[in-house]
């Protein structure tokens, strides 16, 4: 229990230091947000000789879009969170992942291309741990350099628990989003992403 709080505390601190709300793009109902270094179960210690990362909590970091807030782990079994991150896995709060009603689908295109969510879009829930709406579909993995890089042109469209629509793009998996990450040097499992939320409940992003 103590470690939970510790990790949560570290996570929150990191989050508060790195989160910045940008100005809304148009109107008051559309807000665009950038999140830097959201910790998704990073290593807490490193082997002094080999440098091997260790000390993973194996816990997800839960996130709510409406107020850009990390939801405490004690609320994991509630509808208070929309998506969750752990290592390279992303959950949406529904069915196998949680009691919520969150859903998501992938839009292949540029972030700015997505102005309106088309009516025929099919949102998906997390059906089982192996059939996730987002899961691990968002990155490429290099088996030699061990680098995880977010696929370009992949925008995740999420319907939140409070029935708002969000478009989100993952930008980096490494702390401080370095231009050419090094898997041995740069701490991994720190998400940098941006999203736009339409707070009036419509499917328009401008």
């Amino acid at each position: 229990m103590k470690t939970w709080f510790l990790i949560l505390g570290i996570g929150l601190m990191g989050f508060l230091l790195s989160c910045s709300d940008d100005d809304p793009v148009t109107g008051v109902s559309v807000q665009s947000v950038s999140i830097r270094n959201l910790a998704a179960d990073p290593a807490t210690s490193y082997d002094p000789t080999t440098g091997a990362p260790s000390g993973f909590s194996n816990l997800f970091t839960f996130f709510r879009f409406s107020d850009s807030t990390i939801v405490p782990n004690s609320d994991s079994a509630t509808g208070k969170w929309d998506i969750a991150f752990r290592s390279t896995t992303i959950l949406v709060n529904s069915q196998s992942s949680g009691p919520g009603q969150a859903e998501a689908f992938t839009f292949n295109g540029l972030f700015s291309d997505l102005k309106v969510i088309s009516q025929d879009s099919i949102f998906k829930k997390d059906l089982s741990p192996t059939e996730l709406a987002i899961g691990k579909t968002w990155y490429n993995y290099d088996p030699v350099s061990y680098i995880i890089s977010p696929k370009p042109g992949k925008v995740f469209v999420i319907k939140t628990n409070d029935n708002k629509y969000v478009k989100m793009e993952i930008l980096s998996f490494y702390k401080d989003a370095p231009a050419s990450p090094n898997a041995q040097r740069d701490p991994a499992r720190y998400y940098t992403f941006r999203y736009v939320i339409q707070t009036d409940g419509s499917k328009k992003f401008e």
Binding site: D47, T50, G51, A52, S87, T88, T89, N108, G109, L110, F111, P129, T130, E131, L132, G135, K136, T137, N140, Y141, D142, P143, V144, S145, Y146, I147, S149, P150, K151, P152, G153, E169, L171, S172, A177, A179, S180, A183, Q184, T192
Partner: protein, 707 residues
Amino acid sequence: MRLIITFCLFLWIESLGAQSDSVHLNEVIITATKTERSIGTVPMPVSVIKAKIINQSGSSRLQDILNEQNGLNVVAQINGFGNGIQMQGLNPDYTMILLDGEPVIGRLTGNLELNRVTLANVKKIEIIKGPSSSLYGSEALGGVINIITKSPLQNQLEIGLKYATNNTQDVSLNSNWNHANLNISLFGNHYRTSGFDFHPDIYGQTVSPYYNSTLQFQIKQDWNGKHLLMLNAKAFREVQENNYQVVNSLDSIRVFGTTQINDYSISPQYKLKIGERAFINFTNYGSIYQAYTYLNQNASGLAYYTDSFEQRLFKPEIQASCFFNTNQKYTIGAGLAFEGVKTNRYDDNKFRKQHTDYLYIQHEFSWKHKIEWVNGIRFDMNPVYGNQWSPKTAIQWTLKPAFKLKASFGTGFKAPDFRYLYLNFRNAAAGYFVYGTSELKSELELLEQKGEIQQYLYDVNSIGKLFPEKSIAVNFGAQYDFHNKAQFEFNLFRNDLKNLIETQAVAVTKDLKTIYSYSNIKKAYTQGIEGSIRFKITKAIQAELNSQILYAKDKEVIQLIEDGLVFGRDPVTKVSYRISKSDYFGLYNRSRHTESIKLFYENSKSNWNASFRIIYKSKFGISNTAGSVQGNIRPSSDINSNAILDRYDHFVSGYLLCNVSVSKLLFSKLKIQAGADNLFNYTDPDRIPNLFGRNLYITINYKLIKN
């Protein structure tokens, strides 16, 4: 401006007048049609590298001379091991390499290590571009390279010694004995090198020391041209002593051990001549290739890694050729190919076997020395991958004796390699598993039962039977012979490839290990033009200018770009942008331009010989994944995370190699040669690991002929 230069060149060649002798080769080619044919009547794109050029170039291993040929590229494999030959922009897997007409086996990861083949007893190398599956079946999808060894009809003894940079020694002995109609040749070669090291600061060498030995024996008995009995046997062994460190994600482990390669082949042949018009040829080729690697840890002495691979091929074939009349010739052939592979990379280390039955028919037609037309078709029957038809047609039209047009059309195929079916490879340290398509389902079921699968990335049910990779190709070219003083030649080519087998990520385990298998998904094309000009500058200097322009692209990527679905991500701003068709460069490891200029000087009076060759390769991308050379991470070419090569990515710079040699013949028996390959010492250690820098050498060759 260019026109004026060309025009001046024409005038100048005209002005050379009678001083030059014929540059036109009236060489007999056997690879293009499996029958003897004068090079001037071969309607397919064909070229010959003669022993004289090999000697003048000072080349001792196959890769040295092939890398200088127009349209051929020796490429380092992505994992850094071995060199393969790329023809018309096709991967090394798709070019068949023959030694005295029989296929060389031992393609560990698709390519054949060209360093295995010595040039010391090579009479000539015939290169046929374009699919040749109509005669040779699988593997000859892109073309055929046939290395033909010497068996001169005189008593002779030849000794060659070469000493080169990196303490490289190459010793060969070639002897021929003739009595009446009996001809016996014995050849031996020993090659030894201390290897080289790009990173002295890192434990172990880039290439560890190794040696290899080749022994070849040929015996031929000819009964007045009516019966011919021949036996060709070859043995090869290579041993490499490894000392290096293996770097994985967390650790570096120092290891030592040996890699050994054994390669044996035997080919008895019987040829029966029936009258003046027909003959029957029976060959019975057998070959074994073995490769073993044992590595132990320096610290503990415990076994670290073992790898074993054995391939066997047994291929009896009968071929009959018959002149219907002076203009028409029929060739019919039939054979069986039994192939087996055993390796610890497959689950149970037992022989996996396949047999292919095949039949081919070829019709050669010639009309008034104006038209040469060759049609052929081959049918391969294989229970694993099904039946294959491989047709080919090639025509040559001689408009004037000096001016020829050539066109050919054909299909080629490559059978799925055994590893695509049976591989069962776990690299837990690097975090991936690879399973062949026959192994995948049971392995996934096991992992599923253990609850280790995190997510499927691909519809597993759609992975199953693999089909042969296929190509359809067109070649069109022209040849102009300028009063036997200069030759102009060009060839346009287009290869459309489908069913290309690609690694397919199938699933991810809970501890982030990716499971890969294979599927026939990729479609690609390669197209381009190659041209050459050969002429005599003076009576003693022969010049050659070669050029190839190549476009090789993935058709699916093009389709996705057209649909607006290919993106890149700026590494700094992290913002995605859309890739346009003109941004897309094409497949990895291919230069858009390759050029060469070669000068050969030969003075038959003073017995001096020299050569000067420049080879240029323009920029290329390596791979969409990183590489590891001596544990040094060579970054991926892919800067914008889209796994394709586009103009935003990292390219290996274009480079120029300059090779020179000079030799003198003394007492008409002793030849002394000195030379330098890569004179300007160009290196790019992590990106071109097969190019080690300047290679200085000296050779001595002694030839004793007794008629």
